[in-house]
Amino acid sequence: MGLIEFQNVSKNYGQVQALTQVSLNLEANKIYGLLGRNGAGKTTMLNILTNKIFPTVGQVLLNCENVTENDNAQTQMFYMSEMNLYPEGMRVGQAFRWTKEFYPNFATDYAHSLAQKFGLSTKKKVKALSTGYNSIFKLIITLATNAPIIIFDEPILGLDANHRDLFYKELLAKYNETPQTVIISTHLIDEVADILEEAIIIKSGDIILQQPVEQMLQSAYTVSGEESKVDEFAADKKVIHQEMLGRFKSATIYGECHSEERELAASLNLDITSAPLQKLFIYLTN
């Protein structure tokens, strides 16, 4: 359940190529991160997956069935779209009730308890919600549907730090309790990195990397210390980022850190630390 496959999907809007031959395989019950810059094509991919728009070329399969115009496939997914798709005059509570009509496994009590935790009044009309509470409203619905596949497009837009924290915890609590396939699309990498099991990096309509996050994090590291020593260490290596404060320098190296690198660093009196996923992401998507 939940095997999603993009088969050579391309999408163009007139002259603009939004997606170029995207092929992708997603397994069930993992938390995936779809990472990319603004306009890289994340939302386009998700819109095609959830039948909002049509691919120009190629198809997307769910359990070997084409998802386009497929009632069965679409009811197994719930997508927290960035678009404002809810009627302005609808109240939060009403939206819960109607979602339950279309997603029978929607947990109404859970949704209401989440609303309380986030401080969202269920009597409020959609048009009266601020940007942050609009996101909260939509993410609560997404969490409560109990669909086999749930998709979040920039879920933390406009959320303050407390609400972001609460969201991650509630998402993980839910995921731990009932495994689902989760896709989080965002450009805010570091916050979300620890939650993801696997990340897909998209750049200008192209998938450039798909890897377990743990592996991605191992593919770069940071050395820091005295400037000349750092330069010596990094001479034959791929430096993807550097910072300097006086003679103190830290350089992010793209490559794996094995014992020889550790020994060399030790001998040069350098510290080795991890490279944040964000730095790696910036380098890869530049």
Partner: protein, 266 residues
């Protein structure tokens, strides 16, 4: 209510308020006219046209445009006519508003275009049937109160109730479908095309007037077509009903084609 398909259920729920307001307005106007006409010696026939603000955020409360026409009557009795005309116009406007907001919301809930088309068609059939029944009952009530003629009687003379109901249903269904069709045209059109569509009735009319000057038979041909369509020549309401249903099916087909590749946009 719970055995209905979900989309049907939602669409009927969405239309509920508009329908209630419409009948509230009708009844208030009828009550006002009833009071007015029974207390004066001159009688006016009130022709009520209900129109609505059609804008992107959906149906606003209908506003009533009341036209008065003088008519000669012998007694101070309650007088009204042609409820069906108003209801048809109301349903046309309803049709204009039943797509955009609902389509977005239902799309967010995993409803495909095919499913929306199917279940919405059922919804409009139910709405048309419901309003037919309501209008028939209201018409019968008005008849008891005074001189009232349903629109179909005015056109076809004294036909049976069943006749009238079938005709009204077909009329209402066609009205909603026409509204849906036009809203689909707009939805699928670029801004330029929207402008073109908006001014095309005027252009067509001007064009026809010009052609009429040259050829001379244009308007009479069109007139003949309408007479045949509504079976006014033969006064056969069943033929009219059949034609209206065919018209509905034709528009439905076009609506389906327009919907097939419709993107969901903000």
């Amino acid at each position: 209510m719970s055995i209905l398909p979900k989309v049907t259920k939602y669409q009927i729920y969405d239309a509920k308020n508009a329908v209630l307001i419409y009948y509230l307005v009708i009844l208030s106007l009828v009550a006002l006219v009833g009071v007015y006409s029974s207390s004066t010696s001159s009688v006016s026939v009130v022709d009520v046209t209900i129109s609505s603000n059609v804008n992107n955020s959906g149906l606003e409360a209908p506003t009533a445009v009341v036209k008065r026409e003088q008519s000669m009557q012998e007694d101070n009795s309650f007088n009204a006519s042609g409820l069906e005309g108003s209801t048809a116009i109301f349903l046309f406007v309803l049709g204009l508003n039943l797509f955009k907001t609902s389509f977005k919301f239902l799309s967010a809930n995993g409803v495909t275009r095919r499913r929306f088309f199917r279940e919405n068609t059922l919804a409009i059939m139910i709405i048309a049937a419901l309003l037919t029944i309501i209008d028939t009952i209201m018409g019968a009530t008005f008849k008891l109160l005074g001189h009232y003629q349903p629109l179909y009687e005015q056109i076809y003379g004294n036909i049976t109730l069943l006749n009238g109901i079938v005709w009204a249903f077909a009329y209402y269904l066609a009205a909603i479908m026409l509204g849906w069709f036009i809203t689909m045209l707009y939805y699928r059109s670029s801004s330029l095309l929207k402008i073109v569509i908006s001014i095309s009735p005027a252009i067509v009319f001007i064009g026809l007037t010009y052609l009429n000057r040259i050829w001379g038979h244009v308007f009479s041909t069109i007139g003949q077509f309408f007479i045949k369509f509504w079976s006014i020549n033969n006064l056969n309401s069943y033929v009219a009903a059949r034609n209206l249903l065919l018209f509905t099916v034709l528009l439905g087909g076009l609506v389906f084609l327009l919907m097939r590749r419709a993107p969901v946009k903000d």
